[in-house]
């Protein structure tokens, strides 16, 4: 009886996961439409469908402001959530977060360096990069810290996940200290810039930025589903995964690369947006189980939807001013997460 129950349960879960996937995809489509059609200027999408003569101003708001912002929101939200899910699968630890492996800290350090010391850069740097200096520095920072960690944790072709986690914490502390030092010497205006950057925003979204960071995020997102089988295998433990014939080392390398690319690029365009990476995968695991074949895709859809909705709130709640989006994601998300944990306490032991 019990033996018969297990496959049936698994089948139910799979059906539920598939249903969730459809619901999430629909929700994302709806959020994308909302994001495009809602805004302070009252330009609506319906005027597009009515065709012809759209005033130049409205067209500009749709194409130059809302569309790049919406696409950036989708990619950043999906990247953060997927990076979180991959990280948690890789470390077999529900607390893992891109912040832990030092990617977030490295990216943050890059941004702070650019904000505080950007004025000291040679003139040609300022002239060629302009205001792309901060995002670029954030991306390079995240990338560099991942490479360092990977080298530290890899020995004779094998990457020790535990060593990487520990080294990530150490690197995070180091990056935090250097960031602190820079904050100490920053002036009043730079401090304001740092604060706003740290809370994240999609406000700076533009086509050039999206063109630079978008492909990196897209590549990472497309690569993630191929990790599903590998991460499911890793859940059994590395030795077991090896015995069932998984290329364990390759899975780990690709996973780390994916996380670095997704997080680095997301932090670079939108600043530090917390909460999405750790909470979205958890909610989905509670809802549809730990199977990465569904978890990764669902996390991407849910992360994108949540970030778009948070951005809608951020840009309208104190209009004509704008709230940093990190404030919205944390204020709304954290209590909901706590409530769900409370309700599910005893049912699922994380």
């Amino acid at each position: 009886m019990v033996a018969l129950d297990i496959p049936r349960l698994a089948g139910e879960r799979e059906a539920q996961a598939r249903l969730t996937l459809f619901v999430l995809a629909a929700a994302l489509a709806l959020a994308m439409l909302l994001s495009l059609s809602h805004g302070a200027s009252g330009v609506s999408l319906w005027s597009l469908t009515l065709g012809d003569a759209m005033p130049a101003r409205d067209r500009l708001i749709l194409w130059e402001i809302r569309l790049p912002r919406m696409l950036t929101g989708v990619l950043v939200g999906a990247s953060l959530a997927v990076a979180g899910a991959v990280m948690q699968g890789l470390f077999r630890n529900p607390l893992a977060d891109p912040g832990l492996v030092g990617v977030g800290a490295g990216a943050g350090l890059g941004a702070v360096l650019a904000i505080v010391l950007g004025g000291l850069a040679p003139l040609w740097v300022a002239q060629t990069l302009g205001y792309h200096l901060v995002p670029l520095a954030a991306f390079l920072g995240g990338w560099a810290s991942t490479l360092v960690l990977y080298r530290v944790a890899t020995r004779a072709g094998r990457t020790s996940v535990a060593t990487m986690l520990l080294a990530g914490i150490a690197l995070g502390a180091l990056a935090g200290a250097v960031t602190g030092l820079l904050v100490y010497i920053a002036d009043d205006r730079q401090l304001r810039d740092l604060t706003f950057w740290g809370l994240g925003s999609l406000g700076g979204a533009s086509w050039p930025k999206l063109m630079a960071a978008g492909p990196v995020m897209l590549l990472a997102l497309l690569a993630a589903p191929f990790l599903a089988r590998g991460l499911n295998g890793l859940a059994l433990g590395e030795a077991a995964a090896h015995h069932i014939g998984l290329p364990v080392q390759r899975v780990k390398s690709v996973a780390i690369l994916t996380v670095a690319a997704a997080t680095g690029a997301a932090v670079a365009v939108a600043g530090g947006i917390g909460f999405i990476g750790i909470v979205v995968p958890h909610l989905l695991r509670l809802a549809t189980g730990p199977d990465h074949r569904y978890l990764l895709v669902n996390a991407g859809l849910a992360g994108a939807t949540l970030l778009l909705l948070a951005d809608l709130i951020a840009r309208s709640i104190i209009a004509p001013a704008e709230l940093p989006i990190g404030i919205v994601t944390a204020t709304l998300g954290a209590p909901v997460f706590l409530w769900i944990l409370l309700r599910r306490r005893g049912v699922v032991d994380l």
Partner: protein, 296 residues
């Protein structure tokens, strides 16, 4: 030869006629007095618009605009360095008056793209800069006469302040403290608006080996040996209590700390470099003079 000259004359006349026509068209379109829906991004921008008597043209302001009080009733478009493009466009402004550091650059770029007229005021650290700001604002609003009058008034006040500054018997050393978070002194070094203001009032900035607003070590604070400590009068977390300054181990040892000479002035008044700059410099000068008299 004559025909050439005639043709040249004709061209000049035609040009002049076109110019008159354009001016007439422009003034006709704008009900002969320039933009009517103005957004001020930066404290001194709003202040100058009001000083020009054009306050009723403002439809919104940024967080740093706080003077005169009437400006606070306007919708707030956020911090001057994190403006939102769509929200600004949605207000349908026909002019955005921005201080030099308004941003972020992406927003400014999109506004330019959208054809929203944006006038950037020059960065001001000297009396001449203040006058330039007034003239740029008056030009943008299409009220050059009011601009000239305000500039003349401001010039007179700045001149009075300069005379008063020159007549100080001794130039007192002034330490401007921006904040005291966690007991850490954040002081104005060279190349700050505070340093410029202190010089205009006839004082000497006590910190000369740092540029910008920088944290000061206790020893550097003692070495700065200020005769007067100057702070901004503001509430909330950033408020600096006089007791806190005097109880500070290093500041308490300086001449200013020993004599308890702490001056407070409103931040925008003191550092805004708007039309009230002359008055602010004069007020600071008087306070410094009072301190000197007390010192004997």
């Amino acid at each position: 030869m004559t025909s050439l000259r005639n043709r040249a004359m004709e061209r000049v006349q035609a040009g002049a006629a076109a110019l008159v026509l354009v001016t007439a068209l422009a003034s006709g379109a704008q009900a002969e007095d320039g933009p009517r829906r103005v957004v001020a991004a930066g404290g001194s921008a709003a202040e100058i618009v009001f000083a020009l008597g054009q306050g009723d043209r403002l439809i919104a302001r940024d967080t740093t605009s706080s003077y005169p009080e009437a400006v606070l009733a306007l919708p707030d478009v956020g911090y001057v360095r994190s403006l939102s493009a769509e929200n600004l466009i949605a207000m349908d402004p026909d002019l955005i008056l921005a201080e030099h550091d308004a941003g972020p650059p992406e927003t400014i770029e999109i506004l330019a793209h959208a054809g929203v007229p944006l006038v950037t005021l020059p960065e001001a650290r000297t009396p001449a800069d203040v006058l330039a700001k007034i003239s740029v604002t008056a030009q943008a609003l299409g009220v050059p006469e009011a601009g000239a009058a305000l500039a003349a008034r401001t010039q007179a006040e700045l001149d009075a302040a300069a005379t008063a500054a020159a007549s100080l018997p001794i130039r007192p050393r002034v330490l401007f403290v921006l904040s005291m978070q966690g007991g850490r002194i954040l002081a104005a070094g060279t190349e700050t608006s505070a340093a410029a203001m202190i010089a205009m009032a006839g004082g000497v900035n006590a910190v000369t080996d740092l540029s910008g607003y920088k944290p000061l070590t206790d020893e550097a604070a003692i070495a700065a040996a200020p005769d007067v400590i100057l702070v901004m009068d503001r509430g909330g977390d950033l408020a600096i209590e006089t007791d806190q300054l005097l109880a500070h181990p290093a500041l308490g040892l300086t001449p200013a700390g020993q004599a308890g000479r702490v001056l407070r002035m409103d931040g925008l008044y003191l550092l805004g470099f708007g039309p009230r700059t002359g008055a602010a410099a004069l007020e600071l000068n008087r306070a410094l003079r009072g301190g000197l008299a007390e010192q004997g």
